[in-house]
């Protein structure tokens, strides 16, 4: 994929509700949704963030032939070890069984946040290119934050839709809080 700076690249990001940990039920549901979206949007590139996206990205890449990249972050889904397990705590045979074959066969390349995880995957048998791309500092971080910023948003939640974030309680709270701007009340 040359001349990236000049051409517009359509990305398809395989983001998953739940971030690092995801149940097999959600995985199937997401795969179905992504299959529908990818057929209609026809992206130039598929990107998955986090190890749980590997099966989805591999499946879509295999089906469509679209170039694919996965950012490997240090958590893995494992039924036997719980939903959210640091990858260095997962036995090697589980990584091999669930991940490595698909990774080596269908996904074009990978990125990691640090050399530590890159080496772990390579030691386990990953043969595709792995580029280290560290996280970054927000360039605005040094700027003084705006104080008393007026807001007309009565309720804002930013974050995952994971069950452990307990959005059910948030929704319940929303229904009992008095909202003066009736045009912004929830449906």
């Amino acid at each position: 994929m040359s001349h990236t700076k000049k051409m517009k690249v359509n990305f398809f990001h395989a983001g998953l509700a739940g971030g690092g940990g995801i149940s097999s039920h959600l995985l199937e549901k997401n795969l179905l949704l992504h299959n529908v979206e990818i057929t209609s949007k026809k992206p130039d590139l598929i990107h998955g963030y986090g190890n749980p996206t590997i099966p989805i990205v591999a499946s879509l890449a295999k089906k469509t032939g679209i170039p694919s990249v996965v950012t490997l972050n240090g958590v893995i889904y494992s039924k036997s070890l719980g939903n959210y397990t640091p990858i260095n705590k997962v036995p090697k045979y589980i990584r091999n069984q669930y991940m490595l074959q698909k990774m080596n066969r269908y996904i074009d390349c990978f990125t990691t946040l640090c050399n530590y995880y890159r080496n772990q995957w390579i030691n386990d048998g990953l043969i595709k290119p792995v580029t280290i791309i560290p996280n970054m500092i927000d360039s605005e971080f040094n700027a003084p934050r705006k104080k008393n910023k007026p807001s007309n948003i009565p309720f804002l939640y930013v974050g995952e839709k994971s069950y452990w974030r307990d959005l059910e309680t948030l929704k319940k709270a929303y229904t009992v809080i008095k909202i003066t701007d009736t045009s912004r009340q929830p449906n």
Binding site: M1, S2, T4, K5, V9, L45, P67, V69, N73, G74, V75, P86, N88, K89, D108, C109, T111, L113, C114, N115, Y116, Y117, P129, T131, I132, I133, P134, N135, M136, I137, D138, S139, F141, N142, P144, R145
Partner: protein, 131 residues
């Protein structure tokens, strides 16, 4: 270390905390002015037993704090020679005292430039172009 003041920023689950806190430890909860705390602190401690990156360590280093971290995951890679890597709980007091007396080494700004958004953007473009 009764002669050193510790401040914990952020939410901590109560089950991880002792019932009676030592007088030199204060739990601050979430704060709006995190930058001010980074500016005031001399040492930043992060004793994660598992860490896939550790962005707050970079933020603290950006404000001149000397980091003290466990030898876990990406932490030694991001701290480099600009902080102290602790290998054991037994040496933490010594490591923190060492950090308190440590002077900032030259080259920190260059070191931190590998964690800025321009560098990240460049690397992402490289990956895409090589597909």
């Amino acid at each position: 270390m009764p002669d050193v003041n510790f401040y914990i920023i952020g939410k901590v689950k109560t089950r991880y905390m002792p019932k009676k806190l030592p007088s030199n430890l204060q739990m601050m909860g979430y704060v709006d002015n995190l930058e001010e705390w980074y500016k005031k602190a001399r040492v930043y401690c992060q004793f994660s037993r598992y860490e896939s990156f550790g962005l707050s360590v970079i933020e603290a280093m950006n404000y001149g704090c000397i980091p003290v971290v466990f030898n876990a995951g990406a932490l030694p890679e991001i701290v480099g020679e600009y902080g102290i890597i602790s290998n054991s709980e037994d040496s933490l007091d010594k490591d923190i005292y060492n950090a308190l007396s440590m002077k900032q080494k030259p080259g920190l700004v260059d070191w931190l430039s590998q964690f800025d958004n321009k560098h990240r953007e460049k690397k992402i473009i490289e990956v895409i172009e090589n597909l």
